[in-house]
Symmetry: C2
Subunit: 217 residues, 2 copies
Amino acid sequence: MKISYNFKDSNLLKQALTHPSHKSCNKNPSYERLEFLGDKILGAIIAKYIYIKFQHSPEGHLSLMHSNLVSSEAINKVANKVSIGEFIIMDKGEENSGGRKNANNIENVMEALIGAVFLDGGYQESEKFVLDLWEGTFSRDDMMHKNPKSLLQEIVQKSGKSIPTYEVTKKSGPSHESIFEVCVTAQDIGSAHADGNSIKEAECNAALKLIEKLNLK
Amino acid sequence: MKISYNFKDSNLLKQALTHPSHKSCNKNPSYERLEFLGDKILGAIIAKYIYIKFQHSPEGHLSLMHSNLVSSEAINKVANKVSIGEFIIMDKGEENSGGRKNANNIENVMEALIGAVFLDGGYQESEKFVLDLWEGTFSRDDMMHKNPKSLLQEIVQKSGKSIPTYEVTKKSGPSHESIFEVCVTAQDIGSAHADGNSIKEAECNAALKLIEKLNLK
């Protein structure tokens, strides 16, 4: 595992790598508490990064980028670059059932490592550590990986409502450069209008507007 | 408003206090972006605080205390101590509809202020700022305000399942100091057993065990 931080307290590193299955768990605590801490520290670091980088993005955009950058998928992508799975301390049973490739284990250990660096070296060091690891994921594609329409659908379905509906409410301009206006409606949540140069673009913009409204509630 | 931090950049303070309704919003940005940032910074600060203070609490306890300490209720309690509502910059319409006492507005401005202190003074200053304000809320009562049973019910209901059921599975010991074993079961989620000196205590312990299991998934 090639990480850009040297621990002063190697016990913290060991704890961050220790799966709960590990037999001598009582003596050597597992990563669970550090994972709790690291999750929150990661959230703060990524929030600061995108807040500063995207000075003109409204809150809804920032939330969208944030959820993509701290998603299980993103964390696994980053963790696999440094082959975290190979270094997890686990018992034979967990290992034999594929524990080293288990996405949950990998995510948990990555978060625990961030928590451990934060405790060992402070906020600044943990920020350096995270930004260094996350560097390759800051492309627009990664950050907008889950587009506003999918994200809105996820939010709506989590609260047990039916999926949002989209309707073209206006078309204007000459045919080769039409502007479409779309209205999105989500059950019990509300609706939002937005324009775009294609129906798809207008739908995405409308979904984003509705997500922003939700974030402000 | 008596807060323990002097801003170097007073524009950040102003932005944190500016409600989106404020007319000149285009020139003076509102608190929404800062609120996004402050929410995550608050989460990290509180996580560190309870991680260090409760060295022997398992992750489930930490999560429970954390959600209580960053709940809307807790944020409003803290914000009202320094009368934040009186200082929000808002338009007449918002003011006339009770905007200064609106719990959402108060929560948003409190989070935005934390974001502003963080940007203005760095992590350490924002930590001092938050811990100073939150000081009175760190009693066990406040942190455990929402007990494990209510929290488990909330988690389960959010995912659209029916409420968890509790069953006494064992009673042992002499009648004046009986020990009860309770099993809690939540639909599609799983079950957990725990002991207690009363049925209520055993139920709480079982709920907590199940929450911990969920957090580790």
